[in-house]
Structures are given as structure tokens and as C-alpha cells.
Amino acid sequence: MSLSNHIPILIIAIPLLAAFLVPLVSRINKQATGILTTLALGVSLILTIVLTAKILSVGPQVYVFGATSSSLTLPSGLKFPIRIMLEVDAMSIFMGIITAVVSFLGAIYSLSFIKKYDGVDKYYSLLLLLTVGMFGMEFTGDIFNFFVFLEIASIASVALISFRGIDFGEPAEAGFKYMVVSSISALMVLFAVGIFYGQYDLLNFAAIASVIKYSQLDKIALGLLIPVLAMKAGAVPMHMWTPDAYSEAPAPITMILVAASQASLYALFRVVFSLYNISLNALTIGWIIIIFGLLSMFIGVTMAIVQKDIKRLMAYHAVSQTGYMLLGVGVGLAVLANPEALKDYGITAMEGGIFHIMNHAMYKGLLFLTAGALFFRTGTRDLNKMGGLAHYMKYTTIFFIIGAAAIAGLPPFNGFASKLLIYESVYRFNPLLSIIAMVVSILTLASFVKVFHSAFLGPKLPQFKDVKETPRSMVFAMAVLSCIIVFFGLFPDLIVKNLVHPAVISLIEQLQYTGTVLGGM
């Protein structure tokens, strides 16, 4: 069917078309905007799953814009591509699945969550644009195009963070901080694009990767890209925006923001592995990323324990969990040079790190949705004011237990699966790192027990007596997430073998990435 090789662009174009139509539809009737948004994100979720099946069976897909055929990467005998192309390999479709699932459930959750606010059509339009920005960042094979979609995702998330800004001051302040951080990171990415263009006169990831000579300028471009993308992903030295942005945004948006910051983490891995793969001395860069990871883990957890606002606490945990991913992939990168160590534990470390990205998106999303449910019913996020909610909100309590157990890495849940992979492989690399990781995991469990006790247990408080369970659409979204968490927890090797492993291989083998573009097909 002719449309089958147009899937990569349809995943991006359908939510974009829906984003443009939502303001027009809202002139007709208000409810239709929510349904249109959920429909558009549902279609792109189905297309993502179809594309995953295609990529795992056939191999990386390339989609060239405006060429006479969708896979004509090198026009008429040239040695370099001139058009923009989407290059979707196992790693980018892995991130694509996370984006599709998280944004679809976010749209369903906000069907009833957002009814309280006015300007609902603008909210849905921005949500669709944020999803388009994330899909674009993950699928594009062109560095300038990556900058454009990074900017779309940043502006849409800033507008969504300060969505409640009209009647409160704090969301505007959080939005301002996030805007400054994402402007600096986007502009330094543009500066690095300028450096690559100035040297090689090319704008395609794969073309530059095949021609890169790791000159003095390329070291500087790498030196610019790593801190800037780590800043966008919320790693420690520049994580100040994370607690504010995650706690002030509406709950479904926070869940999508977690996936958005992981999209820039994916960009960091893409730059390090696919652009610089063999040419950089992997040990030092690997150790830099490991240090970023360790700092994020430790500082994230220690800051989280003292928090009393439930969403700020979860935001600091998001920072510490990002540390796990950086640790896992950093170890994989550090041993990239010697093949037998790579074979021995490097690949399992990377598998743990990348699998942790998906697990984290799932259980952190669930935790933020439960916090949103509490806020939706009780109107407060302060743990001291909450108490005895387990009596009224039974489902939310169950979902919270599943989420908290998953983040702490308790066995039957998915957090355990990826953390175990990280522990055992990092132990062989350097025992101290894995011990720190375990200590951080225990502290995470401690802080979530505290949250569970102060928010859910305790006597029935008088001011919460009319609190009911959350509406059906919110319960449905949380139920789907917990089913995914339990499923991943019970059958981790099913996911690791045929989803995470190809993603890791597609990151490590640079030739597979450049081959699809320069080698034709």
C-alpha cells in the first residue's frame, strides 16, 4: 500500500494537522477539541507500533522530503544528501513509543483534569505541538531540523508550564526559568550546527558522521553539545529548573515533560554514539557522563527527602533516576573502545540504561498522575496538609503503591528489571559506582514510604470528607500505566531481547546508521 513507506512523516504530520485544527474546531463546540486530540494521538500511537514492527523486521527507515521517491537519499550520483530526511532506527523508534504512549495517556488524563480551567482548546493545541516537537526530535536525521523541533518542544512546554499563570505567580516564574534554560541550550545547539556546517558544508547526521575528522573544532562542538543537552535532560549541575517546572505544570503535562527531557537525553546519546562514535576517546567522555550520572543520582535523592511538596519531591526523584540512565549508558560508552569488555558487560550496562528510560517514563508518569489526582480532589500539594486519603481514593492509592514500588526497584515491577541490569554490569566495571546506585535506590524507597504515610495513611481528616475517587478517564490512564509497569516487571527479557537490544546495537554500530543514508538502502 503506497502509504506504508510514508508512516514516519504521518506520525508527525497528523498531530500537527490536529494542532492547527483544534482552534477552528473549538469555535464549533468545546468538547470536540479533547476528542480530536485523543484521536490524533491515538492514530500516531498505532502508526508508531506499526513502524516499530517494520523497523525491527526490515531495519532503519529513511524518509526523504520532497525527493522523487521516499528513500532516494543521494540524488543523481552525488556523494552527500541535500534534502532533509527522517532517519528512524531502532533507538529512535524506542523513544518514539515512549512519546506516543505517554502523550496519548496524557491526553486521556486531561480530558477530565483540564475541565476546571478555561482556554481548553489552547491547552490541547499546545499538548499536540509538544508531542510533535518530541517526535520530530527523535525521528529527524538533520541537525538543523533537530534544533527546530527542540525549539518547538521548548516553547510548547514553556507555554504549558505557565498555563496556570493568570491566577498564580509561581507557574510564571517556573516557566521563565525553563525558557531561559531551553533558549541557551537551543542556541548553543545552533552554534554547534554552525561549526559543523562551517567545516563540512553538510547538515545531515549520517553524512557528517561519515566525514568527521575529530579536529579541534569538533572537540569544541562536542564540548558544547554534551553539557547543553545534559542541561535540557535535567542532569545535576544544571538541574535547577526541573523541580520548579515539574511541580508547577499541570499533572499530565509533567508526565509529558519527563518524556520531553528524555528526548534530549536521546539526542545526547545520538550525538555521542552516532556522530562521534569511534573517533572520540570513549573513556574520558564515558567517565564525564558517568560523573554527571552519579551527581544526578546522589543530589537528586538527598534533595528529595527534605521536600514537603509532593510534586517537587517527585521532580527531584526524576533528576536522580536520570542519573541511572546516564550511569548505565556512560559505562557502555566508557568501554566502547575495547571490544571484549564491551561484549562482557558494556552492552548489558547500556541495555539497563536505555530500558530504564522507558521504565522511568512509565512509573514517573504514573506517580505524577497520582499526584495530579490528589491535587484534583484536595486542591493542595503540601504533604503536611494531606492525610487519610486512602479511605476515599482507593484506586489512586493502589496506583501510588505500584508507582512507588516500581521507582524504588522492588522485584515484581519494571524498575527492578532495569536497575538489576545496571547494578550487575556497573559492578564489573567499577564496584563503587554500583554501591552508590544501590544506596540511592534505598533512599528513594525511604522517601516514598514517607510520602505514602503522610498522604494516604492516618485518620480520616474532616476537610476531606466529600473527596470522591477521580473521574473515569483519569483512572483509566493510571490503570493502563500500571498494567504496563506490571507487564514489564514480570516479563523483562521479552522487552529487553527484541526492543532494547536492537536499540543498543543501533546506537553502538555507527556504520548501520550512516549506511542507511550514504549506502543507499
Partner: protein, 88 residues
């Protein structure tokens, strides 16, 4: 104390930029320009437009411009969403 850390970070950042400016090829003589020469020669025949820059913006790199228009649309929706309470 915060000022000193910010100062050091600024110095490092700025030295990165200055070193990259110094090492960049000399101004006015692009060492490699095959992609641009291809555009200059073939833009007229392939897209039929005299203005090569416009043919790049709308035909060769049209997806950038779609992302571009989306950025502007996001900014407009964001600004309108921020000031939706204004009744005047």
C-alpha cells in the same frame, strides 16, 4: 560564592566560543561548498524559482519551514493562552 562559580562557568564557555572562532576557516573562503554549489546550479531547473534561497527554504528544506511556521503558531497560542484572562 555563587558569583565565582558563575564567573568560572562563563569564562570556560566564552573560551570555548573564542577558540572555535579562531580555528574556524578564514572568512570569505569556504573550504567545502559542494552542497551549496549544487543548490546554485540546480535550483532553477529543479524548482523553477529564480531566488535560490527561497527555493531552499520552501522546497529543498521545506520541512524546516513547516517546523518554523509551527514555532510561530506555538508562540502565538502560548501568548494568547497566557493572557486569556484579559477581558478589555
Amino acid at each position: 560564592m555563587k558569583k565565582i562559580i558563575f564567573g568560572i562557568a562563563f569564562i570556560i564557555f566564552f573560551s570555548f566560543l573564542v577558540v572555535s572562532a579562531i580555528n574556524m576557516r578564514t572568512f570569505g573562503e569556504p573550504t567545502l561548498s559542494e552542497m551549496d554549489d549544487y543548490f546554485i546550479e540546480n535550483a532553477q531547473s529543479e524548482t523553477g524559482a529564480n531566488n535560490v534561497v527561497t527555493s531552499i527554504v520552501f522546497d529543498y528544506r521545506g520541512f524546516d519551514t513547516l517546523g518554523e511556521a509551527t514555532v510561530l503558531f506555538t508562540a502565538v497560542v502560548g501568548v494568547v493562552a497566557l493572557f486569556r484572562g484579559v477581558k478589555k
